[in-house]
Structures are given as structure tokens and as C-alpha cells.
Symmetry: D2
Subunit: 296 residues, 4 copies
């Protein structure tokens, strides 16, 4: 398919690469054009303006950092305004449910199709085309873009017509990951207090009851105290937990764990740790108990 | 081996059954002797007093509900006092680290070997001899009782010499499970607030990032709102989170998530839900958001 | 002085009444003009449009519910745009620090003076001209409006030049009140659990260590379980705790108590209690412990 | 009256001094006898054993640090056992409700009268004979010891027959103080984040809505960052919040604020601050926000 693709961070670049590899034709735009170089060598076109990616496009795909970045490109730089009538916009970004709602309305007003398609998976998973994509939007539009999902995802999870539903699931999922990080940190503070090595403790739990990717991948980082470079920055984790709280607030759902997480993220940010991996939440839990680095 | 076995609740009965099936010779005692019937038919002997199980025993195995039950049998009913000098006591129960410490001292004073061996696994896992056993104590004693572990466990995880370490790991692990229950409950409150079905939401997460036994087994109970009969009663979950907090307190480790859990357990108990499965924590999280039963 | 006054809720009406009584000349506007009737009888003029209050005004005073209401009047209905160059705007409302910051900038651009002057005190305190006013802004502007403060306040508390400081103090203060409500609720849940009457318990504490207006006034409401009609609606308390959290977030300050409060407000709102007095937080704390209404 | 008095810490000494000054005859015992010197000069007798204070005593008064200290003296050192039949024991200490219950039973078995009389007030308040005494026990016994209360208290607050009620009130009250400390700390973290001086902020609030002794006395310590020497050690504050949680647990009352406090106390203790004044909780709240000492 002909795809306009905007947003070439770690995730976007990996996804665009897989789309090209699967034979789709991409026109790219990124705020800093250098990120596009290798993709251009693989055959993609580079647009000079965001709206330039729309030329000949059947589908617009966006993968930007947050509401502000999406708003800047789609609205302030007129991408939606200039979009052709039959375009399908597939939004892979993790945006707020409030903005998801606003986007759905704006697309409807323009006669455009809007598909919310936030993804689960770190950059290395994106690279292997093994993402899990949560999808919501018009059934027919979703059907048409299946070839794109096929090129990037292990599996696609449809959750209904209203786009914001996919965002709610994504935010709830990211909250669950943050919750697992904090849980491991606190459990470690307890176990280490009795002289159990971090490595041993996490191996027992993540080989048995908690033998799931989230616990295994992050358990490894935590046991090795390897918080930099970040695959997912603590600052972004904070953003997502705030969005989860905000989405929950709109439906009057208290999330006591998310509230605790928000406080801990803020404490870590105040301590200058915003750019480390969000797994560093677990270090904070240990620091509160007066525990420094593990002995090896 | 010749084993004296005390404590025939759901877990104890399953474990004792597997020991007999593996050819070990058991003398049993239980507060209510009816529980021993089927095991006696399989060849076990029934003692009339707790200390009666010591007759000819190489190993004493106990699987009682809590510190009080262990104390009643071991100390008040004189089991330790009457134990032969070379006996190895393998304690499978989840006791407090304080009591673990006291037991270690009492055994040492008597010249008895003490092995703390708390287990991870619900009754159906015990039945299949697939428990995970966390073990701490004298190396030689642990070596000698391997045949017993072989008959009941998928894997044995040694964590050092001081028995209390195994209890710290067990309590930290149970805290992690309770944390996962609360996390699922809160995430569901958010997702359901946007009309996503509980079943759909939990399937997405527990098939992907959270594809671990704890999330899958409990996710199923939560999605189906099947909280009775309990495999593990909420009251017992409360006990374990309290023990985790108490163990952490002794090493000055704050556990903010465990504190939230403690409050939620109390709220559920005040609401008359102590005898339901501890997965019912997830219902409470949804009730706080004004959500009743899911539509099917 | 000649004062344009916008916003005649319970608080605004009481304040405007005292200004008139002190001899100031008021031009009023309110979304629902009925609220102005009694004040017009006392000599105030009624404007037909918000900007109409500016006619001949030396000072503009606003007392609106929140950021949105302030924005609607000041910006969307062009009040700031039409304000004469030497006007001093005294903003009594509890707005976010973010909006306080924006307003300061907008006034500076127009050459207007902006004084943030949020007040502490319930409507009955406003009526008695006994408010405490926290003030921040240009020193000279503050000096000029002293006659107005004299007519409504027991005392004026200057906290510096940047207007947002006054808002930070106000939000921190309202957080402290909410915190006192929750504290009384939890303490009562404990005391009542042992059969101590709510009335007795609160009298002991609020006559001694906690002999302060906040504890005495709200302690009375809580002891009598008198949550309607509301002097300050729970929904508004929620708004203010959210604004406190948001203001604290901008300076990376975690507020764990405020996070707990936010969750409890949401739970009360989900239970349909948004329009009761915010003291109803204390009922929720008791309900969690399974306690119903007190016996008298 | 003839009074046997045990426990001469800061509080006990001040109370004993006032009893002597009012003409009562005291026989004293303290673990470290040096503490009794000045009181002996004022006319008190010194016993060599705890039970020695009973000689000729109509009333036994105890003011010890905690359950363990009370148990050591009353039970292990046989004071209760040797008490004459018509003795009234007035226990001023802050003990757990569980131990209060046990003591009530033990006294009843011996035919002794037991009056729980925990006090509110710091050492300087005790010195001035301005304590508030919360009293529970048999009406007739309470009536008889009024002359003693008259010598030490500003006011006596009876709360019923069951002694544990007085302890529940005392623990609930101490929880309220700890809650006020944390609240001030968090509010300050917010206000200071916007450049408001600690001194200014606390003066505004504690002169107005929060004009109560607890806020004024501790507000002063917090504004001046004067946490040593301690009037009431953080470690003891922790003990009392734990006792409040434990008492509440027995009646199934969740106390979310107390849970947060418990975690913060532990964090402070892990940081080596156990011996500072418990007002240091407020410093921790500011430290979490990355704030160091205030500028003066």
C-alpha cells in the first residue's frame, strides 16, 4: 500500500523499516530528517513538510511521542486539513483518551477514517515485527489496513468501534507494567533485607509464577541495575501513568496503585532520574529502605 | 523415607498423597482426623497425638495454616520436645520471619535440623506434584530430604543457610501475587469505564506481556467474577500481606503497595468477603469506581 | 472605589455586599442575573455584558468557580481586551497556578495590573467580612486596593510579586483542609470501632490539641453527619485537590496524602455524592470500615 | 493520697513532680534510679524493687514507654501479683488496645481496679500540669482518683467503662497529630516549590484556619527545621501509628493515611532519623521533592 508515515523515533523507525521490507511504499516525514536516512536508502521517499507525505497516500500512519507532538503535526501543520477524502489514518501513538476523542471527531468532520492502533512492545520487539496492536475504529477501515498490521505485528487485538477504547486499553496496560516494576522493587527491598541476592530472588519468581515477558525483561534490568541507556524513559512512563489516571478520572475510577506510582515517578524525577529507564522505579523502592547497590 | 506429617488442609493432603504415591511411609496427624481417611486407605498410619507421628520418623513435615497453628502443635503439644535427636523438620508452612527465627533457635537448642521450605502453588498444582519449593537451612539436611521434594515439586530453589530467608522469599512472592490482583482490578476499572469487556481486556494482556500463570489463572477468575469457592481465602491473603509488611518492617523497608493492599483487604473483610478467593480484591477495585457485575 | 465585580455565587455575593456596605460603587455581572437582585436594591448597578462592568471602573474584581469560568469571561467574552489601561484586576478565585501564570502574562501584555487574591473562609465567614486574603502581585497595585480588602477581610497576607504564589498558598491550604477531613474520618473509624461516640471523640480532640476553626466547624458537621446542604461541594474539593496535585507536579513535589485524597474524592463521586459537603469524605472513611450512621 | 509511681521518663518525672507539689505522698521506682533524685529531694520515697512502691499505696500509677516495659514491670517483676486487694491502678501510658484488654482481665482476676488514663501533652505541658487525660474504667475508681488528676491535668475526659476505649482515643489522637505533621510537610513542599518561604506559609495557615496547638507548636519546629533534641522521638511516633493501625485492624477499619505514615516513618528510620523529633516527617516530605534546607 501507499503509506504516508510521520514520526521516526526508535519505535517509528523500526515499524517503517518493516513496512518497507514487506513491500509497502512509504513517504516519510520526521522533525529531524536525519532519522530517515537509512529508510530512504531502503527505498522510502522523504517529504519536506508533514503534509507532503499525503501525496498519493492511501493510508497515513503516525507514531509521535504524545498529544502535543500529534497536535502540532496533524492540526497546526495542517496534515488533517489537506488529507484526501478517502484516507485512513492509523494512529500508533499512545495519546490521551481525551485527545483520541477529539481526533475521532475531527476526522469524522472531514470524512476521513480514523483507526486508533496503539502498540505494546519495546523497540527490539518492533524491530522483529512482533508488536501487539490494539485496534479500534470503523470495521471496514481496519479491514483495509490489515496488510500493514501483518507487516509489523505478532497479533492484532480489535476492541470495538470507538477509537478511544484502544487508547484506554493501552494506558491500562502501561499502568500494569509500571505496577509490575514497583512491585518487583518493593519485593526486592524485602528479600534483600534478609540477605537474599536480587538475582536469585527475581530468578525464582520470574521462572515460575511470574514467567511473563514483562517480569523477565525488566527483572533482568533490575537485578543487574542496568537503568541506562533507557529503552523507555522514566519521564515517558510518568506521562503514561498520568494519562491512565486522567482517563480513569473521566469515568470516576480511583486507581490507588497508579496514584502511588505517580508520586514515585515524581520523586525519581526530582532526584534527576527522568532520563533513565522506567525500571529505575525499582531502585527507588530499594533506596527508601536504605539499600544501595547490590553486591555481586 | 519415614515421614511424620502434620497438617492435612487442601495443600497438606495433596502433598501427603504424592509422598505416599512415591513410596514414602507416612504417619499422619490432623486436628480433624476425618481429613486423613483417604490417605489411610492409601497406606498411611494415623497417630492419635501430634507427637505420635514421630514414631520411627526420619523427617517431620508440617503444613499448618499459620504461626499459631504451628506453635500449638510444635510447642504446646510438645512435638519438638519429644523429637528424636537426628530428626529433620521440613516446614512447608508460610510463617512469619519472626517465628521462623524463633523456630531455628529452638531446633538448634534441641540438636534438631530445621529446614524452611515454603511452597508456591495452589492446591491443584500441589496435586500434580508441580510445586515450587523455596528452601533454606543446613545444606546437609536439605540434601537428605531431596527425595521428598522430588515427590512433590517441579523445582527446588535453595536460598541459603538461614531458614528465615526462605520465608522472606515466600512472603515477598505472595505480596507480588496480591499486587498483581489489585493491578488487574484497577486496570479493569479503567478499561471497563470505556466499555471494553473484562474478558477482552484480560485476554489481551495475559496472552502477551503478562502471559504468566499468576495473571492467567487469576485473570480468568476475575473476568468470570468467580470468587467462590476460594482456592486461597482472602483472609489468608491478608495474613500474608501483613506478614510481608511485618518482615519488611524489621529491616526498615517501606512497602507502599503492600500498605495499600492491607487497607483493601481490611475493607473487603469489613464488607463480609473474608471467605471468598483473594482474587476478589479485583472486584473491590471495580466497585470503588461504581462498577457492578460485567455484562456478558 | 469604583469596582467592576463579576461572579455572584455564595461567596461573591457576600463579598460584593460588604463592598457596597463599605461605600464602594459596584457594577455587577453574573451569568444568571437573578443573583444580583438584592445587591441592586442595595445600590449596585447591573451590567448586561461582562465587559459592561468596566465602565468607569478603577478595579475589576472576579470571583468565579474555576479556570474555565474565568477564561470564558476574561478572554472569550473580551473583558481583558476592553479593559482600560490603568485598571487593576483583583482575582479572588481559586484558579490553577498554570492559569495564574497565563493571566499574569496576558495582563502584562495589556499593561494592566494583576493581583491574585484568593481567600480562605466559608460563605458565613465571607458574610461577616472576616476572610483571610492571600495576596501576590505588584506592590503598588496591592497598596491601592487595600480599602477593598479592608471591607471584606480579617487580614491580608502578602506573599510576594508573582501572582501564582498566592494561588500556590491557597491550593496548599485547601489541601490541608481536605487532609484534616480525611484524618478525622479515619480517626473516627478507629474510635467508633471501640464504641466511642463520634460526638465525644471529636469534642475531646477539637477542644484540645486540634482547637482550630477547621477542626471545630467540620468536626461538628461530621459528628452530626450533616453533609447537605453543602457549604463547599465535594466536587469543588476534588477540583482543588487536583489543582494542588497539578501545581505540585510542575515543581516535582510528590504529595502522597493528596493522592490518597484524590482517590477518595473519586470514589465518593462514583457513589453519587459530588453535591454533598466535602466533609462527607469522613463518612466514606467510616463506610470503608463497615460503619453506618452513628447511634445517637 | 499514697501513690506508688513507676516510670520517670520526661513525662513521668513532670507528672510525679506535680503530684508531690499537690501534697500527695509518692513511693517511686525507675529502671535507672538517677532519674528519681530531684523528686526524692522534694520528699518522695525511692523503692528498690518495682513492687516496693506498693507499700502503703492506695493507688499505683504507671507511665512507661510501651507494652513491653509495662509487661516487664507489672507481670514479670510481679507488681500486679503483690498488689493489695483494694488498689487502683491508673495507667497513664500509651499501650496497645490488645494489651489494655489483657490488663483489664488480669486486674479483674485479682480483684484490682484498673483505670486507663493516657494523656495528651508534650513534656512542657506535663510540667505545667495542663495535660488532657482520657479516662476509662470503673466509675467509682475514677471518682476516687480525681484528686490525682486534678494535680496534673487541665481537663479529664471520661469515655466509658472498658479501659481499652481510652487507649483507642489516645491512639486515634496521636494518629491525627502524625497526620498533621505529614500534611504540613507536603503543603510546604508545594508552597516552597513556588518560592513561598516556609515561615510565611506556616504563619498564614496556623494563625487562621489551623490556629490550634498542634499546628502552631509543630509548625514552628518545622519552619525552623529544629528536629533535635526531640520532645517526642520519631521512633515513638512510629510505634503509636503502628498501634493505631493494629487497633484499627482488630475492628476491620482501614486507615489509608496511617498506612502512608507508617511507610514514611520507616523511610525516615532507614535514613537514620529515628531519634529526631517526629516533626522530621515534614522534612522527609520536602526531601522527596528535591528540596533541601530553607533559605533564611
Amino acid at each position: 500500500m501507499n503509506v504516508g508515515f510521520i514520526g521516526l523515533g526508535q519505535m517509528g523507525k523500526a515499524i517503517a523499516g518493516n513496512l518497507i521490507a514487506a513491500g509497502h511504499r512509504l513517504r516519510l516525514w520526521n522533525r529531524t530528517p536525519g532519522a530517515a536516512e537509512s529508510l530512504v536508502r531502503e527505498g522510502a521517499q522523504l517529504a519536506e513538510q508533514p503534509a507532503g507525505v499525503l501525496e498519493g497516500a492511501q493510508v497515513l500512519m503516525t507514531m509521535l511521542a504524545d498529544d502535543d507532538a500529534e497536535r502540532a503535526v496533524l492540526i497546526e501543520q495542517h496534515v488533517l486539513e489537506r488529507a484526501p477524502r478517502d484516507l485512513i489514518h492509523v494512529n500508533l501513538a499512545t495519546v490521551s483518551v481525551g485527545f483520541a476523542h477529539e481526533l475521532a471527531r475531527r476526522h469524522a468532520e472531514k470524512g476521513l477514517s480514523y483507526v486508533a492502533a496503539p502498540v505494546f512492545g519495546r523497540p527490539e520487539v518492533a524491530q522483529k515485527a512482533k508488536l501487539n496492536v490494539v485496534v479500534a475504529g470503523e470495521r471496514e477501515a481496519i479491514r483495509q489496513v490489515q496488510p500493514l498490521f501483518a507487516a509489523i505485528a505478532e497479533r492484532v487485538w480489535p476492541v470495538g468501534d470507538e477509537p478511544e477504547r484502544a487508547n484506554a486499553v493501552k494506558l491500562a496496560g502501561n499502568f500494569m507494567i509500571a505496577s509490575a516494576l514497583e512491585t518487583m522493587g518493593e519485593a526486592l527491598a524485602l528479600a534483600r533485607g534478609y540477605g537474599v541476592a536480587a538475582q536469585d530472588f527475581l530468578q525464582i519468581l520470574t521462572s515460575t509464577l511470574f514467567a511473563a515477558p514483562v517480569y523477565q525483561i525488566y527483572g533482568q534490568l533490575i537485578a543487574e541495575e542496568r537503568y541506562a541507556p533507557a529503552s523507555f524513559r522514566l519521564q515517558l512512563g510518568f506521562k503514561d501513568v498520568r494519562l491512565a489516571l486522567q482517563a480513569a478520572e473521566a469515568v470516576h475510577a480511583p486507581l490507588p496503585f497508579a496514584s502511588v506510582l505517580r508520586d514515585h515517578f515524581l520523586e525519581a524525577i526530582a532526584a534527576g532520574e527522568a532520563d533513565e529507564d522506567w525500571a529505575a522505579l525499582a531502585r527507588l523502592a530499594q533506596r527508601r529502605a536504605g539499600l544501595g547497590r547490590s553486591k555481586r
